[in-house]
């Protein structure tokens, strides 16, 4: 087990190298850099001042030198300073990460809380009225981009019904952004859970249990729920990626002060150290969540562990 975790974390290294090198290379292709952005508002600034600023930030160095400098910093835990605010990148991150985690956790739990029963009900009542309603809702949720869902929530909950303030911090402020992500994710979850429960209900052991007179509720809770659980873990792992991307959009809409909004702001200002740090952190979070999901998987389904170990 420990060997497996270690191997997975080792695999993270080439991924981080590849991704950071790639974003670094992309930055060189950009026509405007952070210095252009900084002095855009202040009108015409002499080339000397801009050149001096570039030299100060190391932007006049060749591309590979810049990358090597950045890499050296990372290895000793120094992610550099933001070009714009001058603050330490690591501190800025540590400050904003909890808000994003809270948002991810809230939307993930809401999604599981709503989608599991809906998916199971739809499967049990297959082709009945309830099933059609649930399928219809999940189809609608699936066809709406999250920024539209977010704006609709603002429009109806905040502006028309006056239930919530558009922007606020704390528990009240997390409701709408979390709901936005929940609607987009929940639609997918419901659909998949319905499919897996339907498949499970066709299996011989369920027919056998029915024949022995086991009541439907026991069959559902004792056996079928377990297969739904495995599906949920797969879905969590699969949707982490789009959730991380989604937080960037949703945080921007609701002015939720997390790393997603910070990244979008940093990108618009070409604040390279922050963008790089964002990319690195997202990769780490993504890989760790996927690793946790795989570990849970192995616990729930020993066959997976057996196959994996056989492949080593």
């Amino acid at each position: 087990m420990r060997k497996y975790i270690f191997r997975r974390l080792i695999q993270l290294i080439p991924i981080l190298f590849g991704i950071t090198f790639f974003t670094f290379a992309m930055m060189q292709l950009s026509a405007e850099d952070a210095v252009d952005m900084m002095y855009r508002q202040s009108g015409s600034v002499s080339e000397e001042i801009m050149a001096a600023k570039r030299a100060e930030l190391g932007l006049d160095q060749p591309f590979l030198v810049q990358y090597a400098t950045w890499l050296k910093g990372i290895l000793v835990g120094d992610m550099g300073r933001s070009f714009i605010s001058g603050k330490l990148v690591f501190e800025t991150f540590a400050e904003k990460l909890p808000a994003t985690f809270a948002l991810m956790l809230a939307s993930m739990s809401l999604t599981i809380f709503f989608a599991t029963p809906l998916g199971i009900i739809a499967a049990v009542k297959q082709n009945k009225f309830v099933d059609y309603i649930i399928r219809c809702l999940s189809f609608v949720g699936n066809s709406m981009p999250n920024f539209f869902v977010g704006l609709l929530l603002i429009y109806f909950l905040a502006l028309k019904l006056n239930l919530l303030p558009i922007i606020s911090s704390g528990v009240q402020g997390i409701i709408m952004p979390a709901l936005t992500l929940t609607i987009s994710m929940g639609a997918k979850y419901t659909r998949q859970i319905r499919a897996v429960v339907l498949e499970e209900l066709q299996k011989p052991y369920v027919i056998g249990a029915r024949a022995r007179g086991v009541d439907e509720f026991t069959i559902l809770t004792k056996s079928v729920l377990k297969s739904a659980l495995v599906m949920i873990i797969t879905l969590v792992a699969l949707s982490t990626g789009s959730l991380l991307g989604g937080t960037a959009i949703v945080e921007t809409i609701f002015m939720w002060d997390g790393v997603g909004k910070m990244a979008v702001d940093a990108i618009l200002m070409r604040d390279y150290p922050l963008i790089q740090a964002y990319v690195v952190w997202m990769a780490i979070i993504y890989v760790i969540i996927n690793l946790l999901a795989d570990l849970l998987y192995r616990k729930l389904d020993p066959r997976v562990a057996y196959e994996e170990d056989a492949n080593v």
Partner: protein, 269 residues
């Protein structure tokens, strides 16, 4: 096309066809010039003359939504076609040839797949400096890997089939086998995957524009239109709701088509 097997597709193909027709001929279908400003008639609510009202510069929102279909739908389909063709060819070659090329390309795709797609697209589109082309490029750089993976797996599963051996023995070249025997056999699955992806691509591309990293104003693009109207949700909601609804209906139609196509071609996802 009209064999009974394909009949269930007709309504969806028709709807998607109408959308693509509107997108291609948007220029001739708009009631007004989508870029003509009229500051006197700004933010007029929907009425008989301007069915979806006008925006902050007095431009007709309906005309801009129609024009936007061209940008959003054409760009998405072009992008999807590119990554599907490039990705599945790379995958097929990897699967068929194996060896070093296969190892290198698959490790490369491992790196991309181990990273959240939208996060990557946001970062790359951003550092490239926005613009529709850059946004599409950002999605393409990571998007091809999925198709490469799928077609590689499919090719591996049919590579050892007797009919491939037969073709080899009758002297067919690798390229010949790839084009006339392997590609037709994996096309169905690839097509269904692509059809199911159109909606996602449309939403991602519009999402990048919404963040200000895709189509730039004054381009009539749905995501960008919603971004520009964001502050007017309370006073002039039509500016946002019209392009939002357009995205929703377009994605819904392509999703329905993809679902039906999967059922008809009987492809397991």
């Amino acid at each position: 096309m009209f064999s009974p097997r394909y009949r269930p597709l007709i309504p969806y193909v028709t709807l998607a066809g109408i959308l693509i027709f509107v997108a291609l001929f948007a220029k001739f279908l708009t009631p007004y010039d989508p870029y003509a400003q009229d500051l006197e008639g700004a933010l007029v609510p929907p009425n008989g003359e301007n069915l979806f009202g006008t925006d902050i510069y007095g431009r007709d929102v309906l005309s801009r939504v129609i024009m936007g279909s061209q940008v959003t739908i054409c760009a998405s389909i072009l992008l999807l076609a590119t990554i599907t063709i490039v990705g599945s060819f790379i995958g097929a070659i990897c699967g068929y040839k194996g060896g070093k090329v296969d190892t290198i390309l698959m490790r490369l795709s491992d790196i991309f797949l181990a990273f959240p797609q939208m996060v990557f697209a946001i970062a790359v589109a951003g550092v490239l400096g926005g613009g529709l082309f850059n946004a599409a490029a950002a999605l393409a750089i990571i998007g091809w890997t999925k198709y490469a993976r799928i077609s590689r797996a499919l090719v591996l599963s049919i590579r050892k089939m007797p009919y491939i051996d037969a073709a080899k023995m009758s002297g067919a070249t690798s390229a010949g086998i790839l084009f006339s025997h392997i590609m037709p056999n994996i096309a169905g699955t690839i097509l269904v995957t692509a059809a199911l992806d159109i909606g996602t691509i449309i939403m991602e591309l519009a999402g990048l524009s919404f963040l200000g990293l895709g189509a730039m104003p004054p381009t009539a693009e749905w995501g960008a239109m919603m971004n520009n109207g964001r502050s007017m949700l309370q006073t002039a909601s039509w500016v946002i709701l019209a392009p939002g609804a357009a995205i929703f209906f377009t994605v819904a139609i392509f999703n329905l088509l993809g679902d039906k196509l999967r059922d008809v071609l009987d492809v397991k996802s």
